[in-house]
Amino acid sequence: MNDITKMLLGQITDFKPDFKGAYNIREDGGCAGRQSSENIKIENKTDKPGIDIRIAAGTVGETVYIPACVTHGDVNDLVYNDFFVGKDADVVIVAGCGVHTSDGHDARHNGIHRFFLEEGSRVKYLEKHIGTGMGSGGRSIDPVTEVFLGKNSVLEMDTEQIGGVDRSVRNTSAVCEEGARLLVRERLLTAKDQFAETNFKVELNGLDSAADIVSRAVARDTSKQVYTSDIVGNAPCSGHSECDAIIADKASVNAAPRLIANHGDAALIHEAAIGKIAGEQILKLRTLGMTEEEAEAKIIEGFLS
């Protein structure tokens, strides 16, 4: 594992080298460390780049790390990772991606993650994306997340991209069977001339299935963001999506939520709000002794926390 990978890992995960459980560290398209545990087996795919992560039924309380790092320009990494989560397992999956380039060349990571959750299983999926380095080389991260939620399973996804990524297209889709729940908490920050697009597509097919997507974004300078969400209710189900954006300077945010109800008992709600930081918020923090700049930074920090 090179020093840049070590630096990136420190920023995107709390992974420690002496970690006893299962992990796979991807570095510039190769493998910089792997370990399986008794309940969580990691193996190479045979037909394409990537790994299969098999989590045994009933595995409870384990964490598996599968971060990916790109540490220099001229890397265009494409990887397919599939997670098979056994019945009644309850685990934490820490992914995350860091892309670094300082040599003037572009660096890109494109991770396609599929999750197959069996009945009654629960996954907490943590994903943090950053870009670092200097120079003109572009940093892009384009994650694709596909989730298949079996009966009464739950996937809680916590995803953030809060700095340094120049271009990002994030596609998340999920299919929920009976009683299954998808919870997504997303945080995005773009600055300068960065671009981020995030698209959600959720199909609620089973009785009492549910989805809750909460996305908060801050767009500054001349950056651009696009948010779309399609929640399709095909059964008695409940779906909620919320897109909240703070916009500053000359940035632009385009939010297009869509709700599609194909069943009379589908209850779908969407909330969206885009606006600049309220002047009263800045004023309140100034009465606490902060400067205008400090107040703005605190408001954004809080909003994205």
């Binding site: 009465t287 002794g289 902060m290 400067t291 605190k298 809080g302 926390s305």
Partner: protein
Amino acid sequence: MIKLENISWSTPEGNRVLDGVNLTIPDGKLVVITGPNGGGKTTLAKIIAGIVTPDSGKIYLDGEDITDLDVTERARRGVSFAFQQPVRFKGVTVRQLLQWSAGDRKLSDAQLCDILGNVGLCASEYLGREVSSALSGGEIKRIEIASVIARGTKLSIFDEPEAGIDLWSFANLIKAFRRIHEELGGTLIIISHQERILRIADEIVLLSDGKLGASGPANEMMERVLSSGSAAYACRKQEVAFNE
């Protein structure tokens, strides 16, 4: 000591709201400003905090002319202001807001608990809550007051702290004001229509039609304020009805 000298302010449309206000408040005093709605109380408080700039007049804090200092600089010199209509912050917890209020002083859980106790809120229930629309009007108002208590500065201004607060929490609040006043020796300016707040004042100042109508010690001013058909009088009637 805070001293206002000949302060005047008109609305952008040219309506005179404050007309040559003079007011001196010695250190450690608790002064209540009362008067009819629209009389200019909030405007006067915001002028002291630096949020509104007067058209003319001077403001002195401990002898220093602070008229040209902005909100941040006045806050750093020890002026705190609890807004009549508090603002909400998405994603910011009560704990964070109170910690920001305290500045560099790191607040322990016990201190946070103590601060929230002043406004009748239980720390274990509220510290992790977001200061967002998920809080009720009364809750956000009490947190606003707590944020000023957390600062513990030499001058604290509270703009209608009673508004939207239930009578049980209100009793705590009165105790908190007394404590800041008596134990901590802070100077307090409270804008209020509430008889029970008027009663704890060292001095009551009546502001109407842009002028300081009358001012004096609480015991002398009380009857005058209450008989004038003021909001405090209406408030007393409500409270009597409630207690019955």
